[in-house]
Amino acid sequence: MSFWEKIRRSFQEKGEPPRRASTYQFNYRRIWKLTVLLTGGVSLIPLIFITAVNYEAMRHAIESEMIFRTTRVVSNTCLSISFFVNERKSALDFIVHENSFESLNNRERLSRILEDLKRSFGGGFVDLGVVDASGQQRNYVGPYNLEGKDYSGQRWFQQVLDSGMYISDVFLGYRKVPHLVIAVRGMSGSGIPYVLRAALSTTPFETLLSQLEVAGMGDVFMINHEGILQTPSRYHGGVFEKLCLPVPKERPRTEVLEEKGPFEEDLIIGYRYIDDTPFILMVVKKKKECMKPWSRTGLKLIVFLLVSVTVILTVILGTSTYLVKKIKIADEKRSASLHQVEYANKMASIGRLAASVAHEINNPLAIINEKAGLIKDFFTFGGKYAEDPKLMGLVDAILASVKRAGTITRRLLNFSRNLQASVEPIHLKDAILEVLGFMGKEAVLRGIEIHVDVAEDMPILETDRGKLQQILLNIVNNAFAAVSDGGHIDIQARLEKRDQVAIVIADDGCGISKEDLSRIYEPFFSTKTGQGGTGLGLSITYSLVQEIGGAIHVESELGKGTRFTITIPIRSEKTKT
């Protein structure tokens, strides 16, 4: 059974037959749907909207935070590197201003300066060289034998002479270790330019960069403007390798942008062109890694949303179903009592009519009775016609007819009297026979055979005589309508349990179709429409059986007959009116 089917069924009372929609004042399925949709919409739409906004806002906040952090790392690192290079550049600048070309050409003096530089600036300085205007290295102190080397053809040499300063890319050079060169221009006493050239190890950069802790599987390294790695990287190749990412455009400030990596992964790239150097500092992070804390928060939000939606829907479905069901039950009770009142009024009218008819007929009947009796008395006591069997027969026939008419009026009076609710002792067999008495003539005319079998041990019932008789009358009436002439009606009564009696009324009539069987207790359902059927008979029978605390059950097969079983308690606790 589907979920919806379960809810639909819940609108039906237990044990109660399904009813036609027209029985009800409202369409309950529509009310239920409307309630669920409205309350569900009003509570769920804002919840989903707020959660979505919250989700987006949090994602945005975390992304901004990530970009801010990246920017900060890039800026700070850039400052450190810039400071490192500038400091050394300024030192060289100071040396060329403080020392004459001649003194710098003194090997001892230059050697002492290199020692001082190494001592004052820590790591970095590897060697020092003085190059004259013709490009010849005039003096050199350091671990390599480079004295007398000719730099005149090299581009950097011209650049120093032109602009006064030069910082090289990282390169291997003659030394076969990665290093970079800072060169500054000096002026000899005679106004001829010369160059002081220092080689710096890249180890301090590498140490600085490798010490940086960057979140999100981050990588910090430097490239030159051609995209060649200047320092080793963790995930993007070794020094002097070509970077697998495009070289970002030059900007005066720190920039953060999103790029697709070589494996189509989302990357956050922060970079900055370091002023006065050929270097670009880059911080590359994996976005997925950075957003990990966010995925956990986002998941929590979604779980919260799903749990809330489930709880809200459950509560809405539950309360709607419960309330609509309550309204429906109230409506059913209302319409049932309305029918009951209608029926009671109708029966009361019939009762009054029956009583007055009986009264009006009884008086003339009594006169006929006495007159005919007197005629018979004359015959009997006068002896004149006593021997005339024909006349005596006529008088007897009149008296018999009067007696019959009297029985009918008495039955009518009983019927109207029984409309008043009262529990009284009843012989079931008498009650059945009394009901059949109403139908006796029709049974004879149509040749219907009625068989009554009441068990010997049947106790005296204590129940409402009027209601019991109406129940029996309604069902026997239906049986009469169902059977064809010459049909059979079988009425059996037996002790069902210790305190219950079962009355079975079976006929071999036309039967009831399966579709109709579920609807026969519905008010106004009739297959005899247009033939005087009101469709109230079985609906009222159903109510009456319930009122005397009993139950009614029907089995039927089309063309074979119908079998009603009425179970009633021997002692009716209290009759409901």
Partner: protein, 122 residues
């Protein structure tokens, strides 16, 4: 054993006169009247053993008539007849006369005589 003396009171003259005649044929002394005042007047001599009253007589109910008659003549017994038999009538009639002396019309004359004998303990 002397014959029973009966007074029949009913607004239907045809019924009450015929009934009286039939009772007479059976050796029962029966007088009849359709008027309650006449009935009371006849009772002054107090010669009736049984009074058979219709529950509904014009101008005075059978029950009221019974009460007045009882004042005049204590030993007279009563049987009620009714053509109606409504619930209320039945209850009142049964109380006044006892359920077995409350008869619904039309009555069998033999039944009526039997009830009289029962009342008089004969």
């Amino acid at each position: 054993m002397s014959s029973i003396r009966v007074l029949l009171v009913d607004d239907e003259e045809e019924l009450v006169s015929t009934l009286a005649e039939r009772l007479s044929l059976r050796g029962i002394h029966a007088d009849w009247t359709t008027h309650p005042d006449d009935a009371l007047r006849r009772l002054e001599t107090c010669k009736y053993d049984v009074a058979v009253l219709d529950v509904k007589i014009p101008r005075m109910s059978g029950i009221e008539l019974k009460k007045q008659m009882e004042k005049k003549c204590a030993h007279t017994k009563f049987i009620f007849l009714t053509g109606h038999g409504s619930e209320r009538d039945f209850r009142v009639g049964s109380q006044e006369a006892g359920p077995e002396f409350y008869l619904v019309k039309p009555v069998n004359i033999e039944d009526l005589i039997e009830k009289m004998n029962q009342l008089l303990g004969r």
